[in-house]
């Protein structure tokens, strides 16, 4: 089998080829490692999807999984299939940096629960992917290790914060990848890179070993080329965990239907979809609006009942989200004090100096900005006006969704107001960056699941994404609907153009000058 054929397969296809002995796990792993390493060696001309690639570890893991498969162990449908993991998820043995100078040399003494689960399922981890520093950003431009380019157009951003995971899959450096989503960090890069991604219900995937950004919003999920791959990866990742007290014990996700396409013959007959009209009005680019409208027609043609409605309070989601996320971030990141692990400034001369200098030199601009916002909204005198108010609004937003879900099985909306934009184009205006999260943050505030998937080409042939938002623990409806849509359409099969000569773009951190 040709390397390009292998790089073009979905995770499930590759898993089947490995089970059928068409290819071995070490052979497949070699193909993806070669592609990933070749890109890494291109330096500033590459995609820069990875922060670290574990060639030796991946080959050893592949050989080990192959031995187990040969011995007849049935591990999972994706046993032997390589994957890439966002660098805020702890993997014992290498470094996990959260794309921060603060953790440049941090070597986790333990695995995140999802890593143990992936290994049990026979996954082979190729490396750790680039991201916005501590997952704070929507373009992977705040990474200490430089921006990740979009494989569709290397002068543009891959999205974020899981931009490295999305770029790795889009460029064929990994068949699927693991990301995290606090306010859209899986869905928006999927929209920018023509991929499918799932932000699971809060509590369905353990957060143990995920470096905390905003604990009541963070959730780990999967990024892949189609909904079936997302579903199978999620079936591996999800489940209760004693080490995460917020992981839900009594609500196992049912995903078989989505993976096997059960009931797909009936199409989407009887599925009630709500389309919030006010999410398609001002502020949304014409190409995105057109593609989402066309997708709603396609869903209707597949048997779904699509009804327009007004989803109130959407315009309050961004301010409520950033107050809550920053408050939690400020508290979570107080652990980085230059004492037990992480960066310590050489210039420090006393204990207080260690705290101040290590944090000031170790964190990037966006992280400092959010910590400061968090400190402010939690400070005495402003707590009620900002933090308490935001929590109350969060409850009101939850009510509007609860009401919508009494009438609809799922809600359809855009993911991002625009297609991917130029590297360096928006990063100097933090408020504009925050406002671009308008369609994604509500999902995290209410804890609901959402699936982002491609719905066509926008300006310049760049990918446009849409999302299905569902009831808590009803990933199955979303992923099954996505599978039916993808079986009937080709948008998700579009691949970025192969480039031989690449325009050099800057690979320094975009925020350093701001």
């Amino acid at each position: 089998m040709d390397a390009n054929d292998i790089r073009g397969m979905t995770a499930l296809e590759l898993g089947k080829a490995i089970r059928d002995r068409t290819i071995s796990s070490p052979e497949a792993t070699r193909v993806f490692l070669d592609a990933s390493l070749a890109d890494a060696n291109r330096g500033a001309d590459g995609v820069n999807a990875y922060i670290s690639i574990d060639e030796e570890g991946a080959m050893a893991a592949a050989a080990d999984v192959q031995r187990r498969i040969d011995a007849g162990d049935v591990l999972s449908p994706i046993a032997g299939v390589p994957t890439a993991v966002k660098d805020n998820i702890c993997v014992n043995g290498g470094v996990t940096t959260a794309a921060s100078k603060m953790l440049e040399h941090f070597s986790p003494p333990y695995n995140a629960t999802v890593i143990d689960k992936l290994k049990e399922a026979g996954a082979v981890i190729l490396g750790k992917t680039n991201m916005d520093e501590f997952a704070m950003g929507g373009s992977t431009e705040t990474s200490y290790f430089g921006v990740t380019a979009n494989p569709w157009d290397r002068t543009r951003v891959s999205g974020g914060s899981s931009g490295g995971s999305a770029a790795a899959v889009a460029a064929g450096f990994a068949p699927y990848a693991i990301g995290s989503d606090t306010g859209g960090s899986i869905r928006q890069p999927c929209a920018f890179c023509n991929l499918t991604g799932v932000k699971p219900t809060y509590g369905s995937v353990s957060r143990f070993g995920l470096m905390a950004y905003a604990s009541s919003l963070d959730q780990i999920g999967s990024i892949a080329r189609d909904a079936r791959d997302c579903a199978v990866a999620l079936s591996v990742l999800s489940g209760p965990d004693e080490k995460d007290s917020t992981s839900v014990i009594d609500k196992p996700l049912r995903l078989c239907g989505a993976i096997h396409g059960e009931g797909a013959a009936e199409g989407l007959k009887g599925l009630k979809i709500g389309l919030p009209q006010n999410c398609l009005e001002e502020g949304l680019a014409d190409d995105v609006r057109a593609r989402v409208s066309e997708a709603s027609d396609t869903l209707r043609a597949l048997g779904a009942e699509v009804e327009s409605f007004t989803l109130p309070l959407i315009e309050y989601a961004v301010p409520a989200y950033y107050i809550i996320a920053c408050a939690e971030a400020g508290s979570n990141l107080s652990r980085y004090d230059g004492v037990k692990y992480g960066f310590r400034s050489d210039a420090a001369r006393d204990m207080d100096d260690i705290f101040y200098r290590s944090r000031s030199e170790g964190f990037g601009t966006e992280v400092k900005r959010r910590i400061m916002l968090g400190s402010f909204v939690l400070s005495s005198g402003y707590f009620d006006a900002y933090y308490k108010k935001a929590l109350q609004v969060r409850g009101m937003i939850k009510e509007t969704f609860d009401e919508a879900f009494q009438r609809y099985d799922m809600v359809l909306s855009p993911v991002s107001p625009t297609v991917s934009y130029a590297i360096g184009g928006q990063i100097a205006d933090p408020l504009a960056m925050y406002l671009a999260d308008i369609y994604t943050v509500s999902v995290n505030l209410i804890g609901a699941p959402a699936v982002a998937l491609p719905c066509g080409a926008g300006e310049g042939g760049l990918p446009v994404g849409m999302q299905f938002i569902g009831k808590a623990f009803d990933e199955e409806t979303l992923l099954t609907a996505a599978t039916v849509y993808q079986d009937a359409t080709d948008h998700h099969r579009r691949r970025p153009p192969l480039k031989t000569s690449i325009k050099t773009t800057q690979r320094k951190r975009e925020t350093d000058a701001i």
């Binding site: 004693e242 400020g330 004492v339 992480g342 204990m351 916002l373 308490k388 009101m396």
Partner: protein, 96 residues
Amino acid sequence: MKIDDRLIEYIAELSKLKLTPDEKERRKADLNDILGYMDKLNELDTTGRPEMTHPFEANNRFREDRVTNGDRRAEMLDNAPAAEGDYFKVFKTVED
């Protein structure tokens, strides 16, 4: 809400961050921008509304207090910026 010099210094102190004069000006400007936008929430009457701190009603789940992790002392000390023997090393914190 207006973030002035005094307030930005106070926020930096709460955040344990030292700002350069240039950074101070930039953060003052963008925090004013962002907080100005957040004031939009004041359009909503939230009187008597409950505060939603967590996506779902959750009860504390307790587990048995038993040690499950092995001895990782060496690995953890390896991550320390400074260590001596079995200890993290910092500057003296008490007066003579």
